[in-house]
């Protein structure tokens, strides 16, 4: 049995958001969609100010509210711990989104061709055709056209389906090739770790052994697969600073 877990080492995170960017490019998410988000938080009053960073991928809960409420089984939990969305089945009711306490769901509010306009980089420029063959975005990752897992469902990538929900997939298309999720792979300071917790010898098991850790909103009983090491859970007095551009 394999069970994937992500660990976030808050002693190392620099809040640089490289993970956010790697995710956006790997998964071709359009503007304002942050499957991975990094909070930059501030607490206390000058000069006793404290700062902290908090990366927030989908928590891939073991008791996932989104999976429970999905009326059509488009959101599902796999045996290996991944919580995925079947883009072919989702009806766009957004119930998963209101059920999720972590704010990780992103709905495709716009048409796929319009979703890219915000970036003001016209990928359909005829001069790009000879190189890109017209795909949008120009760096489109073809892995997302494949079906994934033994269940063979369309679950990776983003921005193809108007009116469908999406979120972090733990990079299912990479994990199935034996690669690390894009965010983990790019983290310049090794603050993100990923692997099979059932495998005693895996780097993540070694990393987490004998370490104090917490999960976000543990008290809700969602039992996330994302484990935080170092630091403390964000208090209700934490103020978010330096927010990304998040409007549509």
């Amino acid at each position: 049995m394999t069970r994937y877990v992500m660990a976030v080492d808050l002693n190392r995170c620099q809040g640089c958001r490289a993970c956010v960017e790697a995710c956006k490019i790997e998964n071709n998410t359009p503007s304002a969609v942050f499957w991975m988000h990094v909070f930059r938080l501030e607490e206390g009053e000058y000069p006793d100010t404290k700062m902290s960073f908090l990366p927030r991928p989908c928590q891939h809960c073991n008791n996932a509210p989104c999976v429970k409420v999905c009326p059509v089984g488009a959101r599902y939990k796999r045996e290996d711990g991944l919580v995925l969305t079947d883009f072919d089945r989702c009806i766009g009711c957004r119930y998963c989104e209101v059920a999720c306490p972590y704010g990780v769901n992103f709905f495709n509010w716009r048409n796929p061709d319009e979703a890219w306009d915000e970036y003001q980089v016209p990928f359909d420029d005829p001069d790009l055709m000879p190189v890109t063959g017209g795909v949008i975005p120009s760096y489109k990752n073809p892995d997302h056209d494949r079906l994934h897992g033994p269940e063979q469902r369309l679950t990776s990538g983003s921005a193809h389906f108007k009116g469908v929900m999406e979120k972090c997939t733990f990079c299912v298309h990479r994990v199935e090739q034996g690669l690390l999720p894009a965010c983990v792979d790019t983290c310049p300071v090794g603050a993100l770790k990923f692997g099979d917790i059932e495998d005693e010898g895996s780097p993540i098991s070694t990393f987490l052994r004998n370490k104090e850790s917490f999960q976000l909103l543990e008290e809700l009983g969602t039992d996330p697969s994302v484990v935080y090491v170092g630091g403390t859970p964000p208090t209700s007095h934490a103020r978010e600073i330096e927010r990304p551009l998040t409007g549509v």
């Binding site: 509210p65 989702c90 209101v98 509010w109 009116g163 929900m165 809700l220």
Partner: protein, 429 residues
Amino acid sequence: MATTQDMVSDRLPQGVGRWSRGWLLFMALAAIGVAIGVIGWAIEHDQGMAATGMRDLGTMGGATWGVYISMVVYFVGVSFAGITVAALIRLFNLEHLKGVARMAELLTVVALLLGALAIVVDLGQPLRGLVNLFRYARPQSPFFGTFSLVVSGYLFSSLVYLYLTSRPDAARLAESPSRLQPLYRLWAAGYEPTVDQRARDRKATFWLALAILPLLIVAHSSLGFVFGLQVGRPGWFGTLQAPAFVVLAGVSGIGHLIVLAALVRRVLRQEHRIGIEAFTWLGRFLMLLLFVYLYFVVVEIFTSIYQPTTTEQRISDALLTGRYAWIFWGSVAALVLPAFGLAWMAVTRKWRIGWMVIMGLIVNLGAIGKRYLVVVPSETHGQLLPYPIGTYAPSLVEYAVLIGLFSLGALLIGGFMKLFPIVEMEETP
């Protein structure tokens, strides 16, 4: 044209089959409203739901359920009244309310239809939704109850109920020649007013009513569960959600029924069929429900300010003093004032239909406000992680669709009135 109409329709009661200028105007307005809604939905469908004011929870700082879902809850609530009243009339044989029974049934069917449509307009993939719900719907999702019980079971049983209770009238109308005679023949489906048939009808409608009552409790509770089972959304989680949903459902439905009954009484001159006793009964019922609901409101406010978590505090602040305060207190006023108004009428025993209509309308505004406040603030102010406070305001497209939904309701009821007597015909001696 006028002559043919006069000739054939004179014998049809309650203005059925004849269109008056007022009715035409009403229907034209409703049709325009429906057209506005269709255009709105077409825009939404074409541009994606970015055309609405809804946005993602979390980083985007929006509300992903907005006025549409509020209206789903509201419309399903309205349907409650209809079927409850109708069932009570049959079960307890409340003769003086017979006059409003059919319009109550009709209200139920129309409101359910609108509720279902409000779900459809809220879906990102509506056509896929219709197919996939029948194909994959999961009982684990509180939505399953909404879909299977509320929309399909409830709607179907109400239709059956409406049909069975209207069949004798159809048979009677089928006897005399009119342009609508073929329709009534079909409608009557060979009804013969035999003793046996009447007994069967009574039995069938009795048992149907008996079956519907628990169904509607379950259905409305399940709608409450859609919200009440969510631990991750402060302000939603709680055991009071389901009962409060049922009670407020009754409030809005009875309110509508009062309005509709008064309208029919006046326009179709049915004073003799819809007596003041009907209004008295409806008024008392509404008053009772209002007081029960206000009790829930007090409990709700008290719980939310006694020892709230930070997030709940944020929500209740937004509700009681903050951004939503005008809606909250406006809604509470819209529920409190009629409650006391009705109480006063009950005490003085002077039931003024005009006032009751106004009260029926404002309790519905209050109900809409409360539904909105159940759905939206927990999304905008209920984030448990340090996200920004969200914002949500319905867009023009959403308003257009809402206009369309209400207009469709008006169109359906208006249309029905010209096809069939909306007040049950008096039994010929």
